[in-house]
């Protein structure tokens, strides 16, 4: 079954070997084209039966999408499932490479990979230990007279950010703690000393756990390929074709790994859009790798310029942003933040023609609003819209997970159940929250905590749309009034909680619900004697029915079991705190919700989704709201702009994480005075990079919309922010009738 292709797509699909770079505009069908290219190659019998096409992509959700697409084609060819291809993120690929020959990386066969939560724990521990002996750091950097309470709440996270970025960058550049320590002995920078010291301690902690973090995994996979040419040759044979998606977010190490793997066959296809590079700040990703690749002499360069995703006015808006940035942005150093090609609409007879424009389908609300007012306006608007558009999709795009949570909460208070796709998916948070509440109760068995457990337990028992909040509240009240508690949970032969409850006139149905809950609780309380992982599994098997929830619980159990192994003194309260950090969106756990493994907006017609612009990449909705378009979230190197990484309590508006990372970069570049430069220049450079990236983020946000787009802004916490400069320009463009 040959799908109908556009000419540009057909050109890409003529590929049979060599290096090819493809610039693809948003909505040009990248995933489809790459999947089809993979299937096409398999169909052409270019593979020996022990070879695979390797597809490398950015996030797990894309892995799921690719796999689904390719297996559709390969199964139609009568091939076994999953045969002939492998889709991996860079981390997944690195894991495969290291796992096969771990000794080349100095690892035992059963090495393990730290989750972000555990890595952050180690960092926090090491930072606390370091702070106890180094009060001079705070004296040097913190502005005198600022509120110490507020500082103490934020400072540990700033230090984690400094150390985390420093470690990540050092690993990317191949700098060991020893190398850095040897060179910086004479430096008097406390910032550098702190970061280097934490790096040493952190790495030692990893070694003692037989573990690696995600950055190590990538670094060590390259080391394996460099160490053993025969192993490299075997992998080169195994993967004779490499197709790389989202290549604009490739990092130096990713490029080095893929370059090595493809160096023998020379078959490497990189597809990306430099305008969608939104992971540059504080990661090692950089769109320059794709841009340079496209200019290499032996690279066939192609474009996928046609997009049938958006209505023409929306395309015009996105294109205008590119043109304005390139020609007229007041900060000249930002004029290369967005590049051509411009997006071209599809032909009228295209299988995916652009949706028609409707009156006022692009709105930029320039009215001033505070944060709450902005959310109210958007939520009210979406509520009205949903009533008339049951078969369409809508998304509210925000700039941070925290704000996403606020929007979702607001929608719920208005009786709208949003779909959430935030840092930690809603179902993951719900699962973690429930398990955390259980542990809290086991730690301190009170009526209040029991009511909390019941509240969430009950929500897992019935469908969200059937939830009766009033009844829920009544049941919670009953539980709060159960006195003594043991009469309900562990009655003696003479105690009868039912008669106690019946005094407050309850129906049989209520008694059944409470009796079921009581049976469960009795079993779980007994299970508190088991190791933590088994306790979690016991509860999960009783409560969760969705395969993804169960899989997540299995993962949570494994994470806590490891935490318990590394911290033999931990008890229920510590485990509960650990789960809380996941539930509150603070820590990420590689989750298993369907959102994490491939999200399909079309499954949620008639509902509104809340997500960040970052998470929205690759997705599309009929109607899109883009919030917080002010000069804090989208600064433009103007004098009145403020920057999130420059903490209010740090002297001279210095961006400490950026300064720490810049030391390393200068050192790696061979600067003999790398560790002796005064701070400041890196802060300015970080501003430029950040502003450029935010322009691209705006571009990504705009291009998520199919039919309708609304952009709004707010004046920030202090009320002094203004509409973002590029958004003001876009508003003028709309007012000029898209001319």
């Amino acid at each position: 079954m040959m799908p109908k292709l556009r000419r540009a797509q057909e050109e890409v699909l003529t590929y049979s070997g060599g290096k090819m770079g493809v610039s693809a505009v948003p909505g040009s069908g990248k995933t489809f084209t790459l999947s089809y290219l993979a299937a096409n190659l398999i169909q052409k019998n270019v593979l020996q039966d022990n070879q695979e096409i390797l597809i490398v992509t950015l996030v797990n959700s894309a892995v799921g999408n690719f796999s689904k697409e390719i297996s559709k084609y390969t199964q139609a060819l009568g091939l076994p499932r999953n045969f002939g291809y492998r889709v991996r993120t860079l981390h997944g690929l690195s894991n495969d490479i290291v796992r096969e020959r771990p000794e080349l990386a100095g690892l035992p066969a059963d090495f393990r990979i730290l989750d972000e939560t555990e890595a952050n724990h180690i960092l926090l521990d090491k930072i606390e230990a370091w702070r106890r002996g180094h009060s001079d750091f705070e004296q040097q950097w913190i502005i005198e007279g600022v509120d110490p309470y507020r500082v103490s709440k934020d400072l540990p996270y700033l230090l984690v950010s400094i150390a985390g970025n420093f470690i990540s960058q050092a690993k990317d550049l191949g700098l060991t703690p020893q190398t850095i320590n040897d060179q910086m002995e004479r430096s008097d920078s406390l910032l550098l000393k702190m970061a280097a010291s934490i790096y040493s301690d952190y790495q030692l902690a990893l070694h003692m756990r037989g573990a690696v973090d995600f950055d190590d995994l990538i670094r060590l996979s390259l080391r394996c390929l460099e160490t053993d040419p025969e192993y490299l040759a075997r992998l080169q044979y195994r993967w004779p074709y490499i197709l790389e998606d989202e290549a604009q977010d490739s990092s130096r190490l990713q490029e080095m790994i893929l370059r090595r793997l493809s160096s023998k066959s020379g078959n490497w296809v990189r597809v990306g859009d430099p305008n969608q590079a939104i992971y540059e700040t504080f990661t090692t990703a950089d769109p320059k790798f794709l841009i340079n690749f496209l200019n290499e002499p032996d690279v066939i360069s192609k474009e996928l310029p046609n997009s049938g995703r958006s209505a023409r006015r929306i395309i015009a808006l996105a294109n205008h942003l590119i043109e304005w940035v390139q020609k007229d942005h007041p900060a000249e150093e930002l004029r290369n933040a967005l590049v051509r090609p411009l997006i071209q609409p599809t032909d009228p007879n295209d299988p995916k023609p652009n949706p028609a424009d409707s009156p006022n389908n692009v709105v930029i609300d320039t009215r001033k609003a505070d944060s709450e007012e902005e959310i109210n306006r958007v939520c009210n608007n979406v509520k009205n819209w949903l009533a008339d558009h049951k078969d369409e999709t809508a998304a509210i795009l925000v700039t941070s997970n925290e704000r996403g949570g606020t929007v979702a909460d607001k929608l719920r208070t208005m009786g709208i159940q949003p779909v959430e796709l935030l840092r930690v998916s809603r179902s993951t948070r719900k699962t973690a929250d429930f398990l955390s509440k259980c542990l809290k109760f086991f730690y301190r068995p009170t009526n209040r905590f029991l009511a909390d457990v019941f509240n969430l337990y009950y929500r897992f028992q019935i469908k969200e749309e059937e939830l009766d909040e009033a009844r829920m509240a009544m049941l919670s009240q009953l539980i709060l009034r159960l006195d003594p508690l043991e009469m309900y949970l562990s009655p003696t032969p003479v105690q009868d909680w039912r008669s106690h409850i019946q005094k407050t006139a309850s129906s049989d149905e209520i008694l059944v619900i409470l009796a079921q809950f009581q049976t469960r609780m009795e079993r779980w309380m007994q299970a508190t004697l088991l190791p933590i992982d088994q306790l979690i599994l016991t509860i999960s098997q009783d409560v969760f029915t969705e395969p993804a929830d169960l899989a997540l619980a299995q993962k949570v159990a494994a994470v806590l079991e490891r935490a318990s192994k590394n911290n033999p003194n931990w008890g229920l309260s510590e485990f509960s705190v650990e789960l809380d950090s996941i539930a509150k969106n603070q820590s990420k756990i590689s989750g298993f919700s369907d959102e994490d493994l491939g999200f399909d907006p079309e499954k949620y017609k008639g509902r509104v989704l809340v997500t960040t612009i970052h998470k929205a990449k690759g997705l599309e909705w009929d109607r899109v709201y883009l919030l917080s378009a002010n000069n804090y979230d989208f600064p433009s190197l103007q004098s009145n702009d403020r920057y999130t990484s420059e903490k209010w309590y740090i002297r001279d508006q210095i961006n400490l994480p950026a300064e720490a990372v810049a030391f390393l970069q200068r050192f790696a570049d061979g600067d003999p005075l790398a560790f002796f430069s005064p701070p400041g220049s890196a802060t300015l450079e970080a501003r430029r990079k950040y502003c450029a990236e935010r322009l691209r983020l705006l571009f990504v946000g705009i291009t998520r919309a199919k039919k309708e787009l609304a952009i709004t802004w707010n004046n920030g916490r202090q009320g002094d922010q203004i509409i973002a400069l590029p958004v003001a320009e876009l508003a003028n463009f709309v007012n000029r009738g898209f001319k």
């Binding site: 160490t227 007994q526 088994q534």
Partner: protein
Amino acid sequence: MELTSQQILLRDLPFDKKIFVRGEAGTGKSTAAIAHLEQMISKGIPSESILVLVPQRPLARPYMQALSNPNLPAGTRPSILTIGGLARRMDELFWPLLRETAGFRNPEMEPQFLTVESTQYFLSLIVDPLREKGYFDGISIEPLRLYSQILDNLNKTAVVGFPINEIAPRLRSAWIGSQADTRYFDQAQECAYLFRDYCLEHSLLDFSLQLDVFYHHLWQNDIFQKYLKENYQYLIYDNVEEDYPIAHTIVREWIPRLRGTLLILDENGGYRSFLGADPLSAATLADMTEKTIRLTEPINVPPSLVDFRHQLAVHIRMEPVPPSAKPLRVENVNLHYCRFFPQMLDSVVNCIENLTRAGTNPGDIAVLSPFVSDSLRFSLQTRLEEKNIKLTTHRPGRELRNEPAVRCLFAMAKLAHPQWKLKIKSLEWRNALMTAIEGLDLIRADFLANTLLSHKTEGDVLNPFSQLKPEMAERITYQVGEKYEIIRAWLAASHDNTMQDLPAFFTRCFGELLSQKGFGFHQSYDMADATERLIQSAREFDSVIRPVLPQENSGAEFLQLLENGITGAQFLPSWLDERKDAVLLSPAFTFLMRNQPCPYQIWLDPGNTGWWERLNQPLTHPVVLSLNWPPDARWTDAEELNHNQNSLVSHTGGLLNRCTDSLHIFLIQVDEQGNEPRGPLLQAINRFLRYNPGGLTLYDA
């Protein structure tokens, strides 16, 4: 079970011959050897003159079962030993001969024979300070793994027979990585040296030294040889392919002095080669015998599974498939596709339920996985319990510190020994009370722990139940209060007796208190088993470690080591919980070493790379440190691939040779990291399917 004609021939062989028997797995060699042994005893060969030698204890099980047959003449029974067991027994017996000649620097000290855990403990005393100085700084490895790799090296010197100073040069010359990394081999060798030195100083004998001393200092001794001749005249040596070269050397030298021998080799075996087993040197033992017999009559593996075994081997090795090959249809191999791991467990349980409903005995079903974690065991067990199906597991014993019984006994020990100043958290005491008092619930235990446990500078104290306000006492109930008072009084008495001997404390606490009616350990097999293991571990600590490290608070030290997972009888396999009415869950390798057929096998997650045995480790290498590895040869990727492929072929072949009805394979599509698994076993299955479309029965969960 009826014997085949070949087995009967073997059973009836003359006893004073020296025979070598070989054959594929499943041809009934061990069964015939056992019949031969029974014949020997029945026909009047003195049992005590027969030695049965096996490479590891699980392989002794069928012999032990046969010898417990009441129809055999009464009297002593033959010794059944491993080469290590023999060495240890003889070293102990002939210590007066050895103490002077074997290099022990303090001959007046009594020998201490170390187990794996006490060996690791002593090694940690040497390695930890060096690691703090920067040794192994580029190696990411947990302490216990580090110790075990250093010990692996040391054991290889003994089982293969080369000096300690060859460890690093051998590893170095085979290493293809950065030269800078070879310093870790030197560091590992240095640790091995220092450890050996420490053992000689303190008369400690770890496994390597037991063997070393036995072969180099005892074996050639005339007095010992005389003893051996007087005691053993017949040898039955089964699964020779799974034993070490040093064992083969000893047996080779021994055979001429024996009256009769029966040596048995499994041609598909060699599964323990990563531990130093050497099938090649085993095969050469045939030269020392008068006759070789090959068993060829197969047992009941269905022909289609035999075909599948052959095909799977071709696809694991990625060998070309002849274009003329006819596609195969294997009726009794079923492939089940599941998305996530827990979903797979549900499907497995459904499959087991269907089998048992159709009349299969649960004991005829084995669930096999590369690893069996606690959570896998627990998850499967709870699912099967819901269907009233029992599960038994074959896996190394759980860490003691995770056992509620052990935690309860710890808490008791802390309260009984306030002089140790080990604090007890109220949550810890609550759990101990829930474990100790039968039927005590969490809420009442919580009241007790929070109201009656006082933390004082001289140690934690339990206050009397009578101190509670009446309303609280009533909520907890006076029945519980009574039990609490018994515990309190017992602890107070034991405190007064100041029982320093921890094993004795645990024994009495179990016997006098916790196993009594109304208390939590009463008639609980699991609690008794865990207590037994704890006492064993404490006894080992007391007899081996304490004398070397005279410390006042050795009991406290033991508790802390155990709580931190450094020690804790982790290595005791729980072989005894095998039940015929229960589904077996086992690591695939352990199942193979059990050497028993099973009609229905279930393989979990073939995409997991754990099926692909990983040989190489940062500080040791089983092949490079083996007998047959040429000096100066480099361990290349081709060697690695070839070895791993052969090993996977051997393991899957071994499993299929033991599958007498059907095989169910359960795949997951998303692993713990969110990736699609692509391990070599899965790849081989997929390749099989490509060449044999429709060759297996496919199911979707």
